[in-house]
Amino acid sequence: MSFSKLNVLLFGIVLTLSCLNAEPGEITANQFKDKSSKTGSSRSYAFQPLKPIQPPELDNPIHAKNDLDRFILKRLNGLGIIQNSFASSSTLIRRAFLDLTGMPPGRNELAMFDDLASDRKWSELIDHLLVSDHYGERSARYWMDIARFAESSGFEHDTDRPLAYHYRDFLIQAFNMDMPWDRMVRLQIAGDELAPDEPLARSATGFLAAGVFPTQLTEAEFEQARYDELDDMVQTIGVAFLGFSFGCARCHDHKFDPVTSRDYYRLASAFVTTVKSEQRVNVHSDVFQKSFLQWETKRLKLMKAVETANDDQLESVNKKLAAHDKSKPAEGKLPALICSDGVKPLSHHADGRGYPHFYPHVYFLKRGDVDQKGDAVSPGYPNALKQNGKEESHWVTKISENSRIPGRRAALSRWLTDANNGAGQLLARVIVNRIWQQHFGTGLVATPNNFGNQGALPTHPHLLDWLANDLIDHGWKLKRLHKLIMTSSVYRLSSNAGNPSGHSLDPENNHHWRFSPRRLEAEAIRDSMLAVSGLLDRQMYGPGSLNENMRRRSIYYTIKRSGLIPMMQVFDWPEHLGSIGKRTSTTTAPQALSLMNGPLVEYCADAIAKKYGPENSESLPHAITVVWLRILNRKPVDIELQASADFIIRRAETGIDKEQPLLSAFTEFCRALLSSNEFLYLP
């Protein structure tokens, strides 16, 4: 059974959103539920071209900080809901830091941005965060869920892929350098073809290589496994970039959306000779230097071994040294797991039994069965995603006949990102929605991986299209999009749910009258704890670790599919099998147990207490205040200060630590702050 079949299941739940106040031309919930859509007669909004949209006029535009707000306010005004006022500066700084970097601000940053009431200061803060290296780490981690990225093959053996981390490093660097999204997409599909000499470009194709693949294969399974591998690529490209599940079309024409089975196989055929391979790629200089250092250290050891070897050993030691010299890292390059054509495939258990890795043609398969082959197909794209009568040849660039590069993926990537004639408009809608979801917890389309007729409808279709147009018009720059969203007034709203009009008319906040707080993801919880306790090792890039107690950011955990990190899992780390558009967020007793008894909070609380506790402070209240500010980014109010001091004193009296009762009690106080809802939620 293939894991890729799972992808078919990764539809979100069909949400019937209340489409109050439907705008002209908007598809309503009733139309959406209409069975006639199954005939394909009514095309999904997602396949319709972007319309040029003007932000609506407001009677009273005073609350609109930018054009984005006009869409939101127009709806709220129509519903008679009054938007909340802005959150406090201490809430806003925390919100912005956690949101963009996955960690709270440090002391200097708190001082630098202590008053965010002015638009100028707020804008400066956003700029400050967008140039932080941690922005790339945060963004990369979001995308890794969507890219079903892991560092092992899955299935029974779950073989390690020790060179897969280069794709993660590509993501971090690409997000940090603000690589335009269309280019980032093209490189992930065809970086090796489009820009083989460009640093990062080949690492990007790790995207294609990240899916599961069986280690054990019988001869009878060879061809099926290859089609499963192609399916994983096509399916992931579909849901990740276009919010569209091509996978169903493997066996039958799409029931709900305008994609045929033939479309599916034509997409797959772009990858006909594409294989996973280990190739030397440009890497970040830090990673290279570290690797080079390791190589040199080992060489010194081997040299010493040669010196001390006796006659019997000499030959074998010399051989080792020679082999080691061959593996010398050079030219800033290291081997990485990528995908390409015409290269040596990644070795596989079944190589000895003639596993071919790929077949010369992709056939149209009846009901997905390799024994029911139709004709061989050539690359092509669904008609619904081609505009202006353009044919496939439009995206093909002639490549010299000697080239080992067939250019099929390059052509597909151009089609995918072509906003004029190809799928680029849908691509823009999907990424705009994902970024919206990053900031607000839920996308304008609540099913980020499913923009098809089975997915949710956009709550604000005009805003979605306006943002998509804006992204395309401004060179697909994501940092600009982040800033646009974050400098709106809707992003700065207080989360207070007591607003009577909002609470009664829109309790679920579908229309953004307030900011919905949400629990931080596993990574952000752990990284924040390490950051506020001063234990965080900020070293970026390079091989990850399976050691749960390492101190680097969580993005540097090695993702082994059969050995997921328990602390991360308990806070809803995904399974990394198929693309995950939105993680679940649960509240469970095991999470509480992890905070009460687990090692992470323990050593973080210890570190904070030792460094900032009363022994190193002028007074207990002062120590409480310092720690409070550090962990929760605000000063405690009197009543909290009272409560904390009372707790610490009582615990110092009753605790079992008679050696250092106060330190021990203060540690428990730090633990409570680190376990508190205020710490665990993005406010």
Binding site: M1, K5, L6, L9, F11, G12, I13, T16, L17, R367, D369, D371, A446, S495, N496, A497, G498, P507, E508, P517, R519, P566, T584, T587, T588, Q591, A592, L593, L595, M596, N597, G598, E602, P614, E615, E618, S619, L620, P621, I639, E640, L641, Q642, A643, A645, D646, F647, I649, R650, R651, E653, G655, I656, P661, L663, A672, S676, N677, E678, L680
Partner: protein, 491 residues
Amino acid sequence: MNPPFSVNTHSLTRRDMLKRCGGGAGILGLAALLSDEFGLVSLPANTFRRGASSQPLLAKPAHFQPSAKRVIWIFVNGGPSQVDTWDYKPRLEKYDGNTLEGFDKFTGFFANQVGGIMKSPFHFTPRGQCGKMVSEIFPHLGRHVDRMAFIHSGFTESNNHSPALFMMNCGQARMGLPSLGSWVSYGLGSGNRNLPGFVVMSDPKGRGLPKGHASNWSAGFLPGPFQGTWFRPNGQPIQNLERRQGVTAEDQRENLDFLAKLNRAHLENQPHEAELNARIESFELAFRMQVAAPEALDLKHEPESIRNLYGMDQQPCRHFAEQCLMARRLVERDVRFVQIYSGGNENQKSWDGHSDIKGNHSGFALETDQPIAGLLTDLENRGLLDETLVVWGGEFGRLPVAQKASKPGRDHNPHCFTTWLAGGGIKGGVSYGESDEIGHKAEVNKVHVNDLHATILHLLGLDHEKLTYTYNSRKFRLTDVGGRVIQKILL
């Protein structure tokens, strides 16, 4: 800087301590200083009272008088073959080796390995008063057929493990919906405040989790506390269950009271965030679980006679015997819903007998036959069976035709499978519905998975059409738009 505080201070009064803490007393105010309880009068009286607010897991009344209070579901993972277990088909012997005319080879998973009709490798004999024909792989369970109601006409909507598992657990063949156990927890709350209301146990022999993993006991869009609690199969069943070294229950109680105060003050500003409240509740549950869970799962004090009744003295079934005995101890403590998965993920690691159906099914039967029989006996002896529903069933059945292999197996069959129920409210010794003459498709009185769910909810006193949850403006229910209670198997 003031002198360090690492002097021996345990004899100091709190007042002394405060003084030594460097002038804090002025800020702190006398009321708090002198009060044993938290005398913070400026906050509403209920703010700091423990557990005063809404508690999602508090027991709730059923819609009507239930005949079962709790459920143990033995999930026969991978898809047990109906024709080799409970659905005796003598015609298979007659047709053995023949091609099944008109068979759609895409019924199962491996379209290219379809063989001829294959008789069961097992011998069937009549058992119990009712004379039910039972496969030889269930010598112990065969003694209990007069307590069981068999449904031979089950069918489902997917031929693939994870969607079929989601269907059987969550009512629809897709990911992200609440599971039956979560719906029951939501409908009835937990009978025991110190243990999770819904417990899941998986294979402890390293054969993995059922396909789809935690989605099978997910709360979906229901609030988080209704999610199933997965007991880790080895070591401590619940991670981080043990208190840190040197921390007593009293210490921890004080710590958690302080945390709850912080959290309730925080909640004051956002009273409508149900999730924040649930997280407060989760710490209380976790605190109680530290004591209650080890006690409930400690089999040391069970007498040898009981341990042996379940088969704990038998190597092949010891692991499952332990899980069944734990399940009894849990339902005895009013845990509402316990699910035990027999087998790991797929193929030979579960009942997914694609090859060697004989070896596969006899092996897993050997692991489970005596433990489940022991469980039924034990529940009966304690007077618990009348109010405990025991369910035996997997995500789909298997085909009457062979899956070709050197030792033939059987492929997935969504069209037909057998489930049995026993205990709380179930009529014993009856069979409901029929499959066709070779057990290929359900034929008479077909039972959809929604029907099975409706019946289980009915036994628990819940009307499946009334047990709804509004999510994003739509009322959802476990049985979606289907579900029909199978009255004929009820007492």
